[in-house]
Symmetry: C2
Subunit: 192 residues, 2 copies
Amino acid sequence: MRRTKEESEKTREDLLNAAVRIFSEKGVARSTLDEIAKAAGVTRGAVYWHFENKTQIFEALHERLHRPFVDMILEDLEKDHPEPMVQLRDLCIQIMLDIEKGKQRQQTLILFFMKSDYSGDLAPYKDKHREKKAESMRLFKRYIEKAKTAGKLNTQADPELLTQCISCFMKGTFLNIWITRKALILKTKRLN
Amino acid sequence: MRRTKEESEKTREDLLNAAVRIFSEKGVARSTLDEIAKAAGVTRGAVYWHFENKTQIFEALHERLHRPFVDMILEDLEKDHPEPMVQLRDLCIQIMLDIEKGKQRQQTLILFFMKSDYSGDLAPYKDKHREKKAESMRLFKRYIEKAKTAGKLNTQADPELLTQCISCFMKGTFLNIWITRKALILKTKRLN
DNA sequence: CATCATACATACATAAATGTATGGTTAAAC
DNA sequence: GTTTAACCATACATTTATGTATGTATGATG
């Protein structure tokens, strides 16, 4: 039954959504293409039509996750905020809340943070994903540099180190969310 | 060739060490018992003698990792330090340095932090390991409570929240170590 | 020193997932 | 209105890991 162009694109999306669920439940390595296909309401034939293999599904998921984040930060950086550090804080909170809301994105994020060991067939993608990660780290750094040039930050402050610390704290928080399975209540008190 | 009691225990250790290597390289799910056996210089026969299956090797590794940490903290908590928060800071640094040194333990830690998705056969152990984690979290909390009762901390400080934050930061740091593969230089300047 | 249980190695049976090849149906192109 | 090719289902061959069953040599035990 030959489907229309839009229906074809829908099955592709269905397959990706199903992959997130199955990958999250059983891990990437233990997930079979048959499970993913059945979860999407199709057969393995459809999978092999849209993707080369399981690894390519994995790669497609990463692209679908990373892109919106970068766009979000880039758009936010355009704004001319009087207090860049407050802006950065708000961005972090916004990211947290976004993840809290979107279950799909949340699952995908946890998938790449926690459930991807980048071993075996996935090993080649470790460097690629790391580079993408470094890219968003540089975006974060720009907030701090903005604050520093605006004289809003101690002159001895090291933007690189601060960026690392923020990244560490947020990653650790995600880790705790995953471990405790309790949503953290973000107390949004003002900084000063 | 029947081995002596000590030799048998050595092959068991060899198998565990090999399992850490193989698990770290290829991930738990993708690792085969044959690889582990060969890396330890034996055959799968030895594996099935010492362990029920791959899951039990996984469990044995977790026990071997967690125990020394708990013992270390418990011993440290006995000491009567004048500044509990400094003591806690020193402990954190000590833990970091310990992991930096011991490659074996480092690999095992990364294995459980990053490479274990606790899916499939491993799912039942998620709660068990989480409970062990909570146990060490309570130990950390005792440092802060010590500081509070000693009047060394702000009365409004919430030990639970502070413990969570410290845990988040350390976990995030480990995550970054794994991702950047660059050893963090711990700046051990005094706090005040 | 005869026996037994330990500590493995080897062999096989089973299952399960992958890749590919092939078949079929129908949108789309002309 | 054909023809083509996209889109997917079905069938099969191959591989690979697992579990188990069995073989075997030796340290331990009386």
